[in-house]
Symmetry: C2
Subunit: 243 residues, 2 copies
């Protein structure tokens, strides 16, 4: 850990991270408990937030930067499972299941992350049943998304999965240029994108070239320009609902 990883208490969470989340049901006194116990820290790229197998100590709120959640496969390769952007929460699954972490969270771009210990969360959960109800809904939705993801992986081609990933990334790191085309910056290396799709980087390379030669999409470095996003994303919808 470098010197930039300063530990400091902070009241930073109240306005930014509570509104519009499950924490919005907290009373002002509970918000006070929250803020008195939250600890914020800066992380450098490459720093580890938690490791697969660790006991879960609480919740992590990504305030800025980018965090990748990874798992090692049987051959020792890293598989990127999730990218956590500002506003995202990490570690609630093992916390609520009372299990250990099943994946590793690694900072991919200098980040500020706030931490709330699990004792405080359980205190808040016992004080305020509404918070539990919110978490319950959130977890059930995540379960649906996980099932969907599983089904997508076994039933769609790598190409369609890639188009879907572009559609998802678009919300996070895409912007529309004046001529109506969509531009997006891949936040991670192509190798990591490939691992998110469940393919090797070589296969991803070939996939990119294939799509590029069709004309709609242009790749240069980490920037992707999509001339006609509607048309491209329609291919994903068509693969899901082929009627």
């Amino acid at each position: 850990m470098k010197s930039s990883c300063v530990i400091h208490k902070s009241r930073c969470l109240a306005p930014r991270s509570i509104n519009g989340t499950e924490w919005s049901v907290l009373s002002s006194e509970e918000i006070k408990i929250f803020n008195q116990n939250v600890v914020c820290r800066s992380y450098n790229s490459g720093d580890i937030v938690f490791i697969e197998g660790d006991i879960c100590k609480g919740l992590y709120f990504v305030e800025s930067g980018l965090v990748g959640v990874k798992k090692m496969d049987a051959d020792g390769r890293q598989v990127l499972l999730l990218l956590a952007n500002p506003g995202d929460t990490l570690g609630y699954r093992p916390l609520l299941a009372k299990e250990n972490h099943r994946a590793t969270a690694e900072v991919m771009r200098e980040a500020k992350i706030c931490f709330l210990p699990k004792d405080i969360i359980h205190l808040l959960l016992s004080r305020n049943p509404q918070l539990g109800a919110k978490f319950l809904q959130r977890t059930a939705r995540a379960l649906g998304a996980a099932d969907e993801r599983f089904f997508e992986m076994v039933s769609l081609t790598a190409r369609v999965r890639f188009i879907h990933l572009l559609k998802i990334l678009q919300e996070r790191c895409g912007y529309v240029v004046e001529d109506g085309s969509l531009c997006l910056e891949l936040p991670v290396t192509r190798c990591e994108i490939a691992s998110m799709l469940g393919i090797r980087s070589e296969s991803f390379s070939r996939l990119v070239r294939e799509i590029e030669t069709e004309g709609f999409v242009h790749f240069s470095g980490s920037r992707i320009t999509i001339a006609n996003p509607e048309l491209l994303f329609k291919e994903f919808d068509a693969a899901l609902y082929p009627i």
Copy 2:
């Protein structure tokens, strides 16, 4: 619906389905509410409990028989996602997420299934926060299992996934014979087993033959005899933790 699908109220759930489940936290008065509102029914093989896209009306408790949870892939093929045995609950994910069903439940062997309407469940949840806490833990664990399943599908071979499935089925429909070998009855067709593994039935056929020629395992009809279960299951563990 045939005449055997009689609708009848019943108090059947109290002893059998409550103990050892999340419902064990209910007070006796709450158990009364539960029992007054639960409706049990008999289903024939082939009957549909709910269909993908349906609004979720409540929870289903499988009392006897066998129910398959399926989804249609883009090419119109059925993928079997889950087998629900007596004691299993269906529909809690869409109920808690306040979403529609994302899969279809079809009875695969004559079954008795009890139903509790969602209003009652929400009433019980609001009366008893402990019930919510139990559901929260259950859902978070299911989320972990779903992630695990996803990871298994992308990182393990069909062969290893099949061995893992045998290991899971063993708990439900396996029994040890006098000479120490394990015997299990596949509850569904080979075609459906193949779909659970994410492969075609032809590929599954070849996989079975390959394993059979190695000698440890013998397949005849829906009966599988495993001479040395330890040795076979070790192959699964070795694939997961290859150190």
